[in-house]
């Protein structure tokens, strides 16, 4: 039942970190339609935003969707309402990361890949998945 009790504090934090207004999104779904990674997400971008709008804390913090966002900004370029969706995805990750959740586990990275990958791939992942 606590699902329907909106978490206004969380909504406010998301808006603060992302510098976006959640009420700007009218749920047209264009972000999801063009997202190259939507197929890998358990919850697609527009629905993640819906969770934010409704303050559904549990659902929002459970979804893996934002972790598949590569900040490619295709959605940002196409949003008819000018919402910078990748900033919203970053806000969710930021909340997790600052609580020390979802941090990149370096020893888990394949050794062969570590030697082969270009430094900017690793540095990008480290800067995106740490706090």
């Amino acid at each position: 039942m606590n699902k329907i009790l909106a978490d206004k504090d969380l909504t406010r934090r998301i808006e603060e970190i992302s510098d976006q207004k959640l009420s700007d999104c009218y749920q047209c779904g264009r972000c999801t339609a063009g997202c190259p990674f939507a197929e890998f997400m358990d919850v697609p971008p527009n629905q993640v935003i819906r969770f934010m709008q409704l303050g559904l804390k549990e659902d929002l913090l459970k979804t893996q969707g934002p972790w598949f966002c590569a900040a490619c900004l295709v959605c940002q370029a196409r949003c008819p309402r000018g919402v910078d969706i990748p900033r919203l995805m970053e806000a969710v990750r930021t909340i997790h990361l600052r609580a020390k959740e979802g941090l990149i586990d370096v020893p888990e990275i394949d050794k062969e890949f570590l030697l082969d990958a270009p430094p900017l791939a690793l540095i990008s992942a480290f800067s995106k998945f740490t706090y």
């Binding site: 990674f37 890998f40 900040a71 370029a77 930021t94």
Partner: protein, 287 residues
């Protein structure tokens, strides 16, 4: 003439071919690239959290240092270019943050350094480049892959149209090759997801290579060392996952230009390409 440039971490390691071929290109048109002294990492990836000021420090210090040398800095790596340009835009828009950062740093920055990509330089000096072309790359059907970082966000990057860019195609035409349009040229290769979600990066890179091939492309050209890795090095895995996939050579734009300008083969760095570029280059009589 000298042009200041910021190489960034990857041009000295995994993207050496981009570095050596770019130097060869600029040498051929009579311009010396002067490396920014004592540079460090730009931090890669511009932070999207509005309250994260720490991530702006590295770009600010690089921009301040570059400004001491010259009002313009050439940045060949797409990630560095995007990060420095976005930081520049933000610091210009948000003077309060700029003041706070300046107050805490030895450097002082006013937000006016010009960040330039080699493709912008070649666009603005097209005649100079055209006059130095020694070898026509006629018939080489090139798919120009832009990726994300050169195009978005348009308001901040101001590079080209984010949905239908042409700067790369014009560049390819000016060296005599045939640019082939393909719809996924502006979509993401998977970027750093290759570290955390390799399957997602593999599939998106595969999709856009197939899209390029389906439109008749026989060589893909890019400017970003991360796109380059995903498109080139992952092809072996793509072949395993999709047995009907035919590998396709991937080049840095500077390798193609250096070829056209008649640079020595040792400066092209072709031996580092994972998918062999020799077959196609010999087929078109370019080596």
């Amino acid at each position: 003439m000298k042009l200041q440039y910021y190489p960034g971490c990857t041009l000295y390691t995994k993207a050496k071919p981009l570095n050596t071929s770019l130097h060869a290109c600029f040498n051929a048109v009579g311009i010396e690239l002067a490396e920014l002294p004592h540079w460090y990492c730009c931090g890669t990836t511009f932070t999207l959290a509005r309250d994260n000021r720490m991530s702006l420090i590295a770009p600010l210090r690089i921009l301040a240092k570059a400004q001491q040398e010259d009002g313009k800095v050439l940045v060949p790596c797409s990630i560095c270019y995007n990060t420095l340009k976005r930081a520049n835009y933000m610091l210009n828009e948000d003077r309060e943050t700029l003041d706070i950062l300046n107050e805490h740093l030895e450097e002082s920055y006013d937000g006016n350094e010009i960040v330039l990509h080699p493709l912008e330089f070649f666009r603005d000096n097209e005649e100079l480049v055209r006059s130095k072309v020694k070898k026509s790359l006629k018939d080489l059907k090139v798919g120009c892959y832009y990726g994300c970082l050169l195009l978005r966000p348009q308001q901040e990057i101001q590079f080209d149209d984010p949905e239908a860019p042409t700067i790369f195609e014009n560049f390819i035409s000016s060296v005599g090759a045939t640019p082939i349009d393909f719809p996924l040229k502006v979509e993401c290769c998977g970027s750093y997801l290759v570290v955390t979600s390799p399957d997602a990066a593999l599939e998106s890179s595969y999709k856009l290579l197939r899209n390029a091939q389906g439109n008749g492309v026989n060589a893909v050209v890019t400017s970003c060392p991360l796109c380059y890795y995903n498109l080139d090095a992952l092809q072996e895995k793509m072949t395993k996952a999709h047995p009907d996939f035919k590998q396709i050579p991937v080049f840095y734009f500077s390798q193609i230009l250096a070829l056209a300008l008649g640079a020595e083969e040792k400066n092209l760095g072709l031996e580092q390409n994972k998918v062999s570029p020799y077959t196609i280059l010999k087929e078109y009589d370019l080596l």
